[in-house]
Symmetry: C2
Subunit: 242 residues, 2 copies
């Protein structure tokens, strides 16, 4: 059987103006190759509704999977979710499951769950959510299109979430541990922990927030008890930073 085919759609004026260098294409290309999915085409379009809708429809009908990055944040020019809904004639509004995830997250962080942030809970009716262990606001899959964030650390985490489902096997669960230490300090103990838990996968998604270096360590596996145990062990390794 030939490999499944895929296309990527990168959405964002900042890439086309040269202000930002796209990092997600190279990452996705490598990941798909590892999984035996053939990336056949990439398109980059601006934050322009007709351009996004046309590209999504073209790519969705030509390839088995379409992966998008960008345009699902809280600002007025984040129009990707609405464009995808229109491309597939689906209704879109703030959806309860996504809103609950975000409300819980912002309450825990002590941030206001304001109107802009609620935009990130706009999900088409027929879509399934894509887990975002890094910053919670979910992506979604509608038909064969996987809609993900443009921020590289979030994009990477979402790609891992999607590919875990596409490549078959038992459904994966995840826990996330936030560690406020440079990745260089985390790498050694994390490597030992990963060696000791061969049936779990460990992903590190670094961040710099308000001048603080850190990483969200996402542990994935099929057994919730194992995950919790590994997360607790990890947190105990960095008692002052978690």
């Amino acid at each position: 059987m030939p490999n499944p085919t895929a296309a990527m759609l990168v959405i964002g004026d900042e890439i086309l103006s040269g202000r930002t260098r796209d990092a997600n294409m190279h990452h996705l290309a490598g990941k798909l190759t590892e999984c035996g999915i053939d990336l056949k085409e990439v398109r980059v379009v601006s934050d322009d509704a007709p351009a996004i809708e046309t590209a999504v429809k073209d790519l969705s009908s030509a390839y088995d999977h379409v992966f998008t990055s960008g345009g699902i944040g809280p600002t007025h020019d984040d129009i990707t979710a609405d464009c995808i809904a229109r491309a597939f004639d689906d209704h879109i509004d703030i959806r309860d499951d996504a809103r609950d995830l975000l409300a819980t997250h912002y309450a825990k962080q002590g941030h206001d769950f304001n109107e802009a942030r609620q935009r990130m809970a706009r999900i088409p009716d027929r879509a399934t959510l894509i887990d975002n262990p890094v910053s919670i606001a979910p992506g979604f899959t509608l038909e064969n299109v996987h809609v993900m964030a443009g921020v590289p650390s979030v994009f990477k985490a979402m790609v891992d979430s999607v590919l875990a489902g596409l490549t078959g096997g038992a459904p994966l669960q995840s826990v996330s541990v936030r560690i406020e230490r440079g990745e260089g300090d985390i790498a050694g103990p994390l490597g030992k922990l990963a060696n000791a838990h061969a049936d779990l996968s460990f992903g590190s998604y670094p961040f710099i927030q308000n001048g603080v270096f850190g990483a969200n360590i996402v542990i994935r596996g099929t057994n919730a008890d194992q995950l919790d145990a590994a997360a607790q062990t990890l947190a105990q390794l960095f008692p002052e930073d978690t």
Copy 2:
């Protein structure tokens, strides 16, 4: 009057497999923004004739300019030139002007101008050549499509050649000086020379060849005598490396 619009077409399996990270999109995006040309779309396709031809036709009819990178080298999978000719119903073969440029270059370098290298002189009948001061093998412009190499240093030099013509003004000429020294050693003297010749432009295209660090310095201007004088001065600044 609105800005002219442009699209870019990146051709190469090595980008889509994740083996190589594309560097040309970010470079072209920045240069077009500087020139007031709006880059509206980028596509990346594999070394596959129907994919290349379809993309070229689509983009050529939708935008004022199309810039391609990749697939014009000496190997069997370098099929871009033939695809562009087919897309525009033009005849293509080894063309005398391109063959003469390459024959002279390889004779000077003491390399055999073999059949593989002669492939790089395949140019559509109606095309105009794009100057390649770095490695001589020319790109070409056919209708509104500018066909350039994928190697980043050559791509950059060709973009400069094309944009000099698009933005109007007197036609530019160029001379190239090859200096076998690290760019860090070249930068200081080159900066002073550029300051002393305000009506010439100086581009530096670094290379590593057989373990030797160096750069091709391309000087562009409208006056051939000025160019020759500046090139001689530059060569005298690095007597042992040119």
